[in-house]
C-alpha cells in the first residue's frame, strides 16, 4: 500500500504548484466550480482507476497518459482521449461506458454509474484540467534507431569487400589455396592478439569432421581406411570435393535450412497431417545437391508460384518451393478469421525476416521497433505485399490449400482422358439414378433402420427441444416417421442426432429428408466431429441427391471420446424444417466409393420388376467405375501453396497489432532502412522501385546482390554451420540487439564471395572447409588464449561439435548396419490423418522422417531437435538427465545396440577380441582404441588378459566386475573367443552413450 500513498503525495505536490496561477487568471464563480468538480470528482477517480497504467511512471498502456492535460490531449495509439465539450465523441467515455466490447476500461470491471456520469459531465462542460505536468523527455520510453540513422548500424551499410577479383577468377576452384583470403583475415586478428593458433588436426579427426559436417554421417570403417592413407593436403581437397558431390550433402544442408524455416509435416492443434510438405523438403535436398544458386532459391521460396519456367519439372520445382510460405504451425481453428489471416501473415513475415534478412520484424507489428530502424509502417508496407495471397480456406476449422502439380505431356494426356471418362460416367450415373428414383417414388415405403449400413439415428431417437410434429405424409421414410417444425417458433426448436455407439473412424455423414415446395431453403446443420464444428446449409426444397432421400453432409473423423453429433436448429429458416434421420456411414464400408450403392437397401428393393433390378446392377457397375477413376485422379500429385485471392491492396496499420483497430493506410513497400541506392556494382540492378510492389518484387528485392543484409546473413549462416558459431553470433538477428560481427571484413568478403560465385553454397562451404581455420585441432587454451580469448571467438582452435540428434540416430543405424540410404519421398504411413501417437517405423535417414509436431521420432525431444514452429538459428546444447535416461533405457537405442551386437558377433568370431574391439571403435569413433580402452572393454566382456592387469584397476566397482555374469572364456588373442552377446550389446550401447559418440573433435 506504500506505493499508493506515494502516488497520492506526488500528485498533491503538483496541485500546490499549479492551482494558484490558474485561479489567479480566472476567478469567475463558474470556472471555480468546474475546477472544484475536477478536484473532488475527477482527479481522485483518475488516480484510483486509471493512473496505475496510464501515467508517466507506469507502463503507459496504449501509449495513453491520463496524468496530465497534455496526456489526454495527445492521446494514445487511437488518438486524443477526450474531445472537450463532446463526451459522445470522446474515446475515454466510450471506453469507460463499456459500449464497445473491444475497448473496455478499466479492464477489471465497469466503473459505478455515478463515476461514469461524473466523467460525462466533466467532459461536456469543457474538461477543465489544471494538471500541466511537463513531461521529462528522458522519462519517455527510449527510442531506437530511426530510419535516417540506419546507416550508423553496420548491417544496413553496403557490403564492403577487400576481396581481389582474381579469387573470383578461380571459379573452377580446384586450387587448394583458394581459401587463403579467409586465413589471412583470421590470422591477422590472431597475431594482433598474439595468440598462436592450434595446428592441423589429425587425419582421422579431419576425416570424421568432414564427413559429419558435409554429409551428416560418419565415415564407415572402409571409407576411413581408404582416406587415411597418405592423407595430405591434396587428399584432403579430394575428400572435400568427393563429399560435396555426395547425394548426402543435400540431405545435410537441407536439414540445416529446415531448422531456419520451421519445417513441419503436421500442425499441433488437432494434429492435422500436412501430406505435401515432404515435396518441399525434397526440393531443398535436390537444390542443395545440384548447387542451385541460393539467390534463385530465395526467389522460388518466396514467389516461385509467380515465376515462369518452360519445362514442367522446373515449373513444379518453383511451385513446390513456395510451400515455404505455408509451413507455419497455424492455429486453424481460431474463430476470428480476420485475426487468423493476419496471424498467418505475421508468421510468414517473422520467418522471412529472420531467415533471409536477419531482422526481427515481428517487433514492429504492434509498435515501431524499439531498437532497429523498422517503423510499424514498414511492417504493414511488407504485410500489404503478402496480403494479396492466402494459404487458408476458411471454415470453422480453416484448411490449407493444395493444388495439382503440372505434368509432362504424357501424364497430362493420361489425366485428361481419365477426367473426361469420369465426367461421362458421372453423367450416365446421374441419368440412371433419375430413372431409378422415379421408380422408387412410385413405391413409397418405410426403410427399416437395421437394413441400412452404418449407424442410423432416426428422428425418433433424436433429442428434441421445442415442439416438433411427427408425420408420414410423403416419400420414402427411414424408420416409422419423420418430424418437422410446423414452420413455427423459429429459433426455439432444435434436434440433436447423437449416435449411442460409434466406433472411431472416418464417416460419411448423411441427412435424410423429404423434399417439397414448402420446405426451408436454409436449414443450418452443424456436424460436431474430431475435425471441429462444421456448418452445412441444406436446401430442403431440392430433392436429396441420393435416392431422393439422402444428402451427404461431408466426411468426418470421429474419435472414441470426442463429440459426435449433428445439431439442427430451426433458427432463421424460411419454411418447414423436415428431418428424417442422420446416417453415419463408415467410409470403409463404401468399398467401391459409391454412396448410392451403399445406401441401396437390397433386401426389399425399392424398384419393381427385373427392369429396375437390371438398372440397379448397371448403376452399381458404373458407380464402381467412376470411383475407380476418381481414385486414379486422386493420385495426381499435389503441392501445398498459397493462392492470389484478392487484388493487391495497401494495408492500414493495425494499432497495437489489433486487426479491428485500424490506423493510417500505408503504401506497399520494403524496409526503408535498407537503401540500395549506393550501388557497389552495376551488373545486378536493384529491383524495381515500383510504387506498389508484388510478392515477386519482394523476393527480388530480398535476393538482390545489393541488399546489404541477405548475402551477409546467408554467408554467416553457412559459416556458423561449419565453424560452430557465426561471425555474427545471432544469425537470425543482425539488428541492434544482435551480436556485432567478430570479423566484419571477413563477413563482407564471405558475402562478396557468395555473390561472385552466383550464390553457390558449395563454393562457400568448400572454401571454408579448405581454410586452416577449419582444420585446427581442438586444444586446451594456452596462457595467452585463455586470458585473451577463452571462448575461441577468434577461431584459434577447432570447436567441439555436438552431434545433432539426426546424426546421433543415423550413426547408430550405420554402426548397427541397418541404415537405409534410399532418398526422397513421403514416409507418412498411408491413411494417417492426425499425428497423435504416431509410430515412426523406418531405418531411413532421420531427415526423411515426418516432422510431426505432436509425435517426433525417438530421441528428437530429448536431444535438442529444432523447435519446428519457429525459425531456429542454432540448436540449443542442453545436457539434461532425460538424455541419460534415453540413451540407457530407450527401446529404440537398445534395439540398435542389439542389432549391432549381432552384426559384430561374427567379427568377434573370426578375429581376436582386440581386433573386434578396434573395428567397433573405428565404426563408432573413427579411431582406434588405446590399450587402456581395450582393457576396460575386455574386462567388461569378462575377458581380462591377465589377473595382474585386472587387479591394477582402481575403479570403485572393480570387485563387482570380476564377479560379473560373463566369465573369462579364454585369452584375448585366442581366435576362438566366445563373447556373451548380451555383454557385447551393453558394451555397444555404452559406446553409443559415451562422449566420443556424442561430441566431435
Amino acid at each position: 500500500m506504500l506505493h499508493v500513498q506515494r502516488t497520492v503525495w506526488t500528485t498533491c505536490l503538483s496541485i500546490t504548484i499549479f492551482v494558484a496561477p490558474l485561479s489567479a487568471q480566472d476567478s469567475s464563480e463558474q470556472e471555480r466550480a468546474k475546477l472544484d468538480f475536477f478536484e473532488s470528482k475527477i482527479r481522485p477517480a483518475l488516480i484510483e482507476h486509471c493512473q496505475e497504467c496510464h501515467a508517466l511512471d507506469s507502463e503507459q498502456a496504449g501509449g495513453l497518459l491520463l496524468d496530465s492535460q497534455a496526456g489526454w490531449q495527445k492521446g494514445g495509439d487511437q488518438g486524443p482521449a477526450i474531445v472537450p465539450g463532446k463526451s459522445s465523441e470522446s474515446l475515454l467515455l466510450k471506453a469507460i461506458s463499456y459500449s464497445n466490447p473491444k475497448l473496455q476500461m478499466p479492464p477489471d470491471g465497469k466503473l459505478p454509474a455515478g463515476v461514469i456520469e461524473n466523467f460525462r459531465q466533466w467532459i461536456d462542460s469543457g474538461a477543465i484540467d489544471p494538471r500541466t505536468t511537463e513531461h521529462d523527455s528522458s522519462k519517455t520510453k527510449s527510442q531506437g534507431l530511426t530510419v535516417d540513422q540506419a546507416q550508423s548500424h553496420w548491417s544496413y551499410r553496403p557490403v564492403q569487400s577487400s576481396l581481389l577479383i582474381n579469387v573470383a577468377g578461380s571459379n573452377e576452384h580446384k586450387s587448394s589455396s583458394s581459401s587463403a583470403w579467409i586465413d589471412a583475415q583470421i590470422n591477422a586478428k590472431l597475431s594482433e592478439s598474439e595468440i598462436e593458433p592450434a595446428t592441423r588436426a589429425a587425419p582421422e579427426v579431419l576425416i570424421r569432421r568432414l564427413y559429419l559436417d558435409l554429409t551428416g554421417l560418419p565415415p564407415t570403417v572402409s571409407q576411413l581406411k581408404e582416406w587415411t592413407e597418405g592423407f595430405d593436403a591434396t587428399r584432403y581437397t579430394q575428400l572435400v570435393d568427393h563429399l560435396l558431390a555426395s547425394p548426402h550433402f543435400g540431405e545435410a544442408y537441407a536439414r540445416r535450412w529446415m531448422d531456419v524455416i520451421r519445417y513441419g509435416d503436421s500442425v499441433t492443434l488437432r494434429g492435422f497431417v500436412l501430406p505435401q510438405s515432404w515435396r518441399y523438403r525434397d526440393y531443398l535436398i535436390n537444390a542443395y545437391n545440384e548447387d542451385r544458386s541460393f539467390q534463385q532459391m530465395i526467389c522460388e521460396q518466396i514467389a516461385g508460384d509467380l515465376m515462369t519456367a518452360d519445362d514442367p519439372d522446373a515449373r513444379s520445382q518453383q511451385l513446390i518451393a513456395t510451400t515455404f510460405l505455408t509451413l507455419g504451425n497455424t492455429n486453424l481453428e481460431k474463430q476470428d478469421k480476420e485475426q487468423l489471416d493476419m496471424d498467418y501473415l505475421d508468421e510468414q513475415l517473422d520467418v522471412i525476416g529472420a531467415a533471409f534478412l536477419g531482422q526481427t520484424l515481428g517487433c514492429a507489428r504492434c509498435h515501431d521497433h524499439k531498437f532497429d530502424p523498422i517503423p510499424t509502417r514498414d511492417y504493414y508496407a511488407l504485410a500489404g505485399i503478402l496480403k494479396s495471397s492466402t494459404g487458408l480456406k476458411h471454415s470453422n476449422v480453416s484448411e490449407w490449400i493444395e493444388k495439382p502439380l503440372p505434368l509432362d505431356p504424357v501424364a497430362q494426356t493420361k489425366f485428361g482422358e481419365l477426367e473426361s471418362q469420369h465426367t461421362k460416367i458421372a453423367a450416365d450415373v446421374k441419368e440412371l439414378k433419375k430413372k431409378l428414383d422415379s421408380l422408387a417414388k412410385a413405391n413409397p415405403r418405410f426403410i427399416k433402420t437395421d437394413e441400412l449400413p452404418g449407424v442410423v439415428v432416426d428422428s425418433a431417437q433424436a433429442t428434441l427441444v421445442g415442439k416438433w410434429v411427427e408425420s408420414t405424409h410423403v416419400g420414402n421414410i427411414v424408420g416409422e416417421s419423420y418430424i418437422h417444425d410446423d414452420n413455427s417458433e423459429k429459433g426455439v426448436k432444435s434436434a440433436t442426432f447423437e449416435p449411442q455407439n460409434l466406433p472411431p473412424g472416418e464417416y460419411e455423414v448423411l441427412l435424410a429428408y423429404q423434399a417439397s415446395e414448402n420446405r426451408a431453403t436454409n436449414v443450418v446443420v452443424q456436424v460436431f466431429s474430431a475435425d471441429g464444428e462444421k456448418e452445412v446449409t441444406v436446401n430442403e426444397r431440392q430433392q436429396a441427391p441420393e435416392l431422393n432421400l439422402w444428402r451427404s453432409l461431408g466426411r468426418y473423423r470421429f474419435e472414441d471420446k470426442g463429440q459426435r453429433f449433428v445439431l439442427i436448429s430451426n433458427a432463421n429458416t424460411d419454411g418447414h424444417v423436415i428431418l428424417d434421420a442422420v446416417l453415419f456411414l463408415p467410409v470403409s464400408q463404401m468399398k467401391d466409393g459409391s454412396l448410392s450403392a451403399a445406401l441401396q437397401v437390397s433386401k426389399s428393393g425399392s424398384g419393381s420388376g427385373t427392369d429396375a433390378e437390371k438398372q440397379k446392377a448397371t448403376l452399381k457397375t458404373l458407380e464402381k467405375e467412376a470411383a475407380e477413376l476418381q481414385k486414379q485422379l486422386d493420385e495426381r500429385p499435389k503441392y501445398m501453396t498459397v493462392v492470389e485471392n484478392s487484388p493487391p491492396k495497401d494495408l492500414a496499420i493495425h494499432i497495437r497489432g489489433d486487426v479491428h483497430t485500424l490506423g493510417e493506410v500505408v503504401p506497399r513497400g520494403f524496409l526503408a532502412a535498407v537503401s540500395m541506392s549506393s550501388k557497389t556494382r552495376a551488373d545486378a540492378k536493384p529491383t524495381t522501385e515500383s510504387p506498389s510492389p508484388t510478392r515477386k518484387e519482394l523476393a527480388e528485392w530480398i535476393s538482390a546482390n545489393e541488399n546489404p543484409l541477405t548475402a551477409r546473413v546467408y554467408a554467416n549462416r553457412v559459416w556458423s554451420w561449419l565453424m560452430g558459431r557465426g561471425i555474427v553470433a545471432t544469425p537470425n538477428n543482425f539488428g541492434i540487439t544482435g551480436s556485432a560481427p567478430t570479423h566484419p571484413e571477413l563477413l563482407d568478403n564471405l558475402a562478396t564471395r557468395l555473390i561472385q560465385s552466383n550464390w553457390s553454397t558449395k563454393v562457400l562451404v568448400r572454401e571454408i572447409v579448405l581454410s586452416q581455420a577449419y582444420q585446427r585441432r581442438c586444444v586446451a587454451p594456452g596462457s595467452v588464449a585463455s586470458d585473451v580469448d577463452p571462448e575461441n571467438l577468434l577461431y584459434w582452435r577447432g570447436h567441439t561439435r555436438r552431434m545433432s540428434v539426426e546424426a546421433l540416430r543415423d550413426s547408430m543405424l550405420l554402426v548397427s548396419g541397418e541404415l537405409d540410404y534410399s532418398r526422397g519421398g513421403s514416409l507418412i504411413q498411408p491413411g494417417t490423418k492426425a499425428d497423435y501417437n504416431y509410430t515412426h517405423r523406418t531405418t531411413r535417414r532421420s531427415i526423411y522422417h515426418p516432422v510431426f509436431r505432436n509425435s517426433l521420432p525417438e530421441l528428437f525431444d530429448e536431444f535438442d531437435f529444432a523447435d519446428s514452429s519457429v525459425s531456429i538459428e542454432a540448436r540449443s546444447r542442453s545436457t539434461v538427465s532425460q538424455q541419460g535416461l534415453s540413451l540407457m533405457q530407450e527401446p529404440w537405442v537398445i534395439a540398435r545396440a542389439r542389432q549391432a551386437s549381432l552384426k559384430y558377433s561374427s567379427t568377434f568370431k573370426s578375429q581376436s577380441v582386440d581386433e573386434g574391439l578396434t573395428e567397433l571403435y573405428l565404426a563408432c569413433f573413427s579411431r582406434e582404441p588405446s590399450n587402456e580402452e581395450l582393457k576396460v572393454c575386455r574386462s567388461f566382456l569378462g575377458l581380462d588378459s591377465s589377473p595382474n592387469e585386472a587387479s591394477d584397476e582402481k575403479t570403485s566397482s572393480g570387485e563387482n566386475k570380476r564377479a560379473s555374469s560373463a566369465n573369462p572364456k579364454t585369452n584375448p588373442t585366442d581366435e576362438k573367443t566366445v563373447i556373451d552377446p548380451m555383454r557385447l550389446e551393453l558394451l555397444i550401447q555404452s559406446l553409443f552413450a559415451s562422449i566420443d559418440f556424442r561430441f566431435l573433435e
Binding site: 494434429g271 526481427t360 426455439v492 471441429g532 540487439t737
Partner: protein, 481 residues
Amino acid sequence: MSAERQLQRRAWLQQTGCGFGALAATALSQSSLLPASRAYAGKPELNLSSGLHHPAKAKRVIFLFMQGGVSQVDSFDHKPLLQERDGQAFEFNDARQLAKTGKATTQRIMKSPWKFQPYGQSEKWVSELFPESARNADEMTFLHGMHTEGVAHGPATLFLHCGATNSVRPSMGSWLLYGLGPENQNLPGFISIAPSVGNGGPRNYGNAFLPAQFQGTRIGGADSDILQIKNLLPRKDISELDRGQQLQLLSDLNAQQIQRREYKPNEFDAVVESYELAWRMQSVAPPILDTSDESTETLELYGINDPKTRAYGQRCLLARRLCEAGVRFIQVNYGDNSANPAWDQHSNLPKHADHALAVDRPIAGLLADLKRRGLLEDTIVWWGGEFGRTPYAQDNGTGRDHNPGGFTVWLAGGGFKSGSSHGATDEFGFQAIQGKVHMHDLHATILHQLGIDHKRLVFNHAGRDFRLTDVHGRVVQEILA
C-alpha cells in the same frame, strides 16, 4: 578425475550455480548459461524464503485442469435468474458469433439442471455437481470474474498454459521453474500428469525458447491408467548387477575419452553427471510414483477404491506425493485425447454430471490430505478450465457453447483469502462485469504468491524480452490474504 579437473569443475559450479544445488547446476545446459538470458545471468542468489523478487507465500502449484470448459452456471456461479427465464430468448454477444460476424445473436436461456445449496461458514452456493469439493468452500477463493482469450479449445488451452493463443511460448510451469529452480534435484521440477495429446499437446507443458531443463515432464497420458515417466523404470531384461556394471563401464569410457582429449569443455562434466542424475532419478522417483504404500484410509479418501473415481483419484494422490517430494508445478489433468475434450458439452449438458462425479471426491480428498499434512499452507491449488460455458443453449440444443468472456476458477492454499469470492458475471452468468480477472492477471497473481514479479521474470529471445504475461497482467491484490 584429476585434482585440477575437480577444481575446474568446482569453479564452474560456483560460477553458474546461482544458488541451485550443485547437481542441478551440472545438469544445466551450457548454452543456457551463456548470454542468451539476461535474467539468468543477472539472477541474484536465490533464497527461497525471501522469494525471487519478494517474500513468497507459496512454494509450489498444483493445477487441477478441467479440460474442455466446465460450465460456471452449473457449478460455482449460482444464477437463480436462469431458472426464472428458462426458455426465453435474449440478445447475447456470443463469442463465436461475435468473432465470425461481429454481431450479437438471439439465444435461448437454459436453466441449470442441478440444484444449488450454501456450504460452509462462507455460505457459498455450489451446485450438487460438486458436493465433496464444496465442503471445502471455506478453504477456497472463488474468482467469478475470469475471462480469457480464444473461443476454440486449441487457442484457449494454449493461452491458459502459455499466455498466448498462437505463438510458441513457454508454459507457466517452465517459467516458474526457470524463476525458482527445482526444490528436489533428483526429480523433474515440472510435471504434467496424464496430459492429453490434443489442443496443443506437448506445447502445453513445453519450454519453448527457455532452456531444456525447464521443460515439463509427462507422467502417463489422458487415455492411460499407467502413471509413469518415460524411460524411468530400469530395463527388466538385464540384472541390477549388469546395469550397474554397464554404468561403471560408461563412466570408465567417458573418463578415458575426456582424458584423451586435448580440450575438455565443461559440458563433458555435465554429460557425465547427467548419467549419474538419471541413475539417481531411477532410484528416487519410482518409489514416489508407486502409491502402494498408502493406507486404505488414504485410498478411500481419494476415491481410489471406487471405479468411478479411481483414475482421477490416482492422479490427485500422485500429485500430493510429488508435492511432498518438492516438485514445483504439478498439473493434474482431467481430459481426454479427443478434439472436444471431456467437459465440452455442446450437446447433452447432463454429461457434466459424469465428469463431476469422476473428479469431485478426488479433489476433496486432495485438499483434505494436503491440509492434514500441513502442505496446503505453501501450496497453491488451482482449479479450472480453459474457459467457461454459455448460460444459453447452443443453437437451442441441449448443450452449452464455449464462453471465454466469463467463468469461474477457484484457488486454495498458498496465501489467498480463503472462504471468499471475488468478481462477478452478469445476472445470467455470461460476461464478467465486476472484479474482472484476465488469465494474464491470474498468472501474474499466482507468480506473485510464489515470490515472483511477473514483469521481471523475463527471457531474451529473438531480439526481445519475453514474459509469461506478455505486456499485460495485474496482480489481483484483492484476493491476497
